[in-house]
């Protein structure tokens, strides 16, 4: 997995709460059997109207947010389905960090599997950052130091954030979860042997 340590870039303010996974990546793009190439479909139905015309008022269509690598969103971001196509499309678009007051559980976990840092900050701070993002500021995100720094009106600002230490480590080192777990294969076998004694019917399952 791609490592995440430091990031510098401008940010897109997305002032919508409860952004769901159907909004992030509509179902017509879930029919792929690949992980890549979904970036162009990110927020597809917010970017284009039903006739395929660009909706100018939508932030992702505005020149000032071209090349942004950070998304600043409303609370309960990523609610809805478990589709990992949502973080795949976000990462493929070039966004490596999301800042929001809260996330839906599955989406939040999915981010870490795809080298995306989801930062949680209080609503007021997020709202202020959205205002700052409108001035096309560059934000510096340092995962090691757990801070966001930026220069606004000649003033250096710093916001710190909390993150689970294991998740932090996985992102910084780009760890392969499966490889780590496979190192514990003997513990898994021991578990299975014990469980087969305690609840043997679980191991009677035949091919139906």
């Amino acid at each position: 997995m791609e490592k995440f340590n430091k990031l510098t870039g401008n940010a897109i303010p997305l002032r919508i709460t409860n952004v769901d996974t159907d909004m992030i990546i509509p179902k017509q793009f879930l029919k792929t059997i690949k992980r890549t190439g979904l970036g162009e479909y990110l927020f597809f139905e917010l970017k284009f109207d039903q006739d395929g015309n660009k909706i100018d008022s939508f932030e992702l269509n505005q020149d000032q947010y071209k090349g942004a690598s950070i998304l600043i969103a409303g609370k309960n971001f990523g609610c809805g389905s478990s589709r990992e196509h949502a973080p795949w499309s976000i990462a493929d678009y070039g966004i490596k960090c999301i800042i929001a007051p809260s996330y839906a559980d599955i989406f939040y976990n999915n981010c870490f599997k795809n080298g995306i840092l989801p930062i949680i900050l209080d609503e007021e701070t997020v709202s202020n950052l959205q205002d700052s993002a409108e001035n096309t500021l560059n934000f510096n995100i340092d995962l090691e130091k757990q801070n966001i720094t930026y220069l606004e009106n000649n003033e250096q600002k710093e916001i710190t954030f909390e993150i689970d230490p294991v998740k932090k480590k996985c992102l910084i080192e780009g760890l392969d979860d499966i490889g780590m777990t496979l190192n514990k294969s003997s513990s898994i076998s021991d578990f299975e042997n014990n469980q087969a004694k305690k609840t043997p019917w679980l191991y009677r399952s035949e091919i139906i």
Partner: protein
């Protein structure tokens, strides 16, 4: 004597393989359901890294999201859908995983197939690359939805790396009125706690109202735990659970079934166990519920009104109501029972079981679907379809003007050919009313099967008890 534990605590503790220093846990996964949309990249990952499926016999695959619900003999028309289903079939074959193809009458929505086959049992950990895996919690199984990376992790290791969620108890007290269903109860819960209310929790539903629900009703409640933001929903197993499981193909049998029951009985939450959060809901106050907006928390009683953004509690809430009203094409303060529909969808993992179809048949019998309405009924599995036809329900549906289809996820998420056109308005028994969920520009109102059937007959949202 160890400290009293909740049902969730017990299942969790019973599945710990290993704990890292920081408390992160490798949790054993007893059963894994696989469908075509969230699995191809996981199998590809295994192939690329030369890894194998650890426990193919604990894994069950079927295609549900992309399958057509009519003219099945012609196959799948859409080439991308076809490729995805064929890819699942190939991956299952190459990895010795049982696969139920479209032609098998046991095929259906994964969350209907699992319980039907006895694949789902109390005390298990069950995962699937699908958020509505919470459905299986109705059996007292810890079941939750995962992303594709975790599908790959489960295939390779039969475990997942997890951090423990908190315990929430939702207690439904009092007595439900006649005609109030499991769907109304869960919609009322989501109205109360919101779509993020359960974030970070596993919810256990308790109280006599839950005890009195059938297994089908319990599945409806647990199914929408995810719409309340929870990782999983749980209901303590009881006689109804054993009764449902008895004789199912994959359930234990004979003496072993009795042994299993004793084990399952030991899983119930101990007296004195602590929940991190307790929510009480009075059932007496619940009447049939419908959604008006684009979030499952936008719930209102059928005798209520579309909200007015002027009365919103915050600017953010006001903006969100305005956005939803615009999308839904609704005016503030409109009586909900005046909202006209032109589509009806009865089905999904929330309400596509035999009990749901029986309830619909009672409403449909001797009545006609309104002439401007297209109303489809999609059974949750081939076995649900077979049972309904055995009971003659299909004849009642067809006679009343309903469109009787083949099983699948269908218009719950509109990945197959069944979808709303822009601005079409649908009374739906599914679980999500997000923008574009049932088709771009389509407008969804969530409700119980009885309420959806009544909407089909009246051409508008209506309290079915008044029919």
């Amino acid at each position: 004597m160890s400290a009293p534990k909740t049902l969730y605590d017990k299942i969790w503790d019973n599945h710990i393989v290993s704990i890292y220093d920081d408390g992160t846990t490798i949790l054993y996964i007893d059963r894994h359901l696989v469908h075509e949309v969230t699995s191809p990249q996981a199998f590809e990952g295994l192939r690329m890294s030369g890894r194998k499926v650890r426990r193919p016999e604990f894994t069950l695959a079927t295609a549900d999201h992309n399958v057509p619900t009519m003219d099945r003999d012609k196959g799948i028309a859409d080439p991308d859908s076809k490729l995805q289903v064929e890819t699942l079939e190939r991956n299952a074959r190459e990895n010795n995983i049982t696969y139920l193809p479209m032609s098998d009458k046991r095929q259906g929505i994964v969350h209907i197939v699992g319980p039907e086959q006895g694949f789902t049992q109390p005390g298990m950990t069950i995962v699937c690359g699908d958020s509505h895996t919470s459905t299986h919690g109705a059996f007292g199984a810890l079941a939750w939805g995962i992303g594709t990376s975790e599908v790959e992790h489960t295939l390779a290791t039969q475990t997942l790396i997890q951090t423990k969620a908190k315990n929430m108890c939702i207690k439904i007290t009092g007595e439900v009125m006649d005609g109030v269903t499991a769907k109304d109860i869960i919609l009322a819960i989501i109205k109360k706690i919101g779509t993020a209310g359960g974030t970070g929790y596993v919810i256990e539903y308790t109280g006599d109202v839950i005890r009195n629900l059938s297994m089908e009703g319990r599945m409806t409640v647990c199914n929408m735990s995810i719409e309340a933001g929870a990782r999983a929903g749980l209901i303590s197993p009881d006689e109804k659970t054993w009764e449902y499981l008895k004789g199912r193909p994959l359930a234990p049998s004979g003496v072993e079934f009795e042994t299993a029951i004793r084990y399952w009985q030991s899983l119930a939450t101990d007296e004195g166990a602590q929940y991190d959060e307790i929510v009480e809901i009075k059932a007496d106050e619940i009447i049939p519920q419908v959604t008006w907006g684009t979030s499952p928390e936008d719930v209102v009683s059928i005798d209520g009104y579309v909200p007015d953004p002027k009365n919103a509690s915050s600017d953010e809430k006001k903006r969100s109501i305005e956005r939803a009203l615009e999308y839904m094409g609704l005016e503030p303060n409109t009586p909900v029972n005046e909202i006209e529909v032109n589509k009806v969808f009865i089905g999904s993992c929330t309400n596509g079981r035999i009990e749901d179809l029986r309830a619909v048949s009672k409403i449909a019998k001797g009545r006609k679907v309104e002439k401007n309405v297209h109303a489809m009924i999609v059974p949750g599995s081939g076995l649900v379809k077979e049972q309904a036809e055995k009971e003659g329900l299909d004849k009642i549906f067809i006679e009343a003007g309903f469109d009787w289809r083949d099983p699948g996820c269908s218009m719950c998420l509109a990945m197959n050919a069944d979808k709303l056109k822009p601005q079409e308005r649908c009374a739906s028994t599914s679980n999500r009313n997000f923008e574009g969920r049932q088709g771009r520009g389509g407008r969804t109102h969530l409700m119980s099967p009885q309420m959806a059937a009544a909407a089909a007959i009246k051409g508008k949202l209506t309290d079915f008890r008044d029919l």
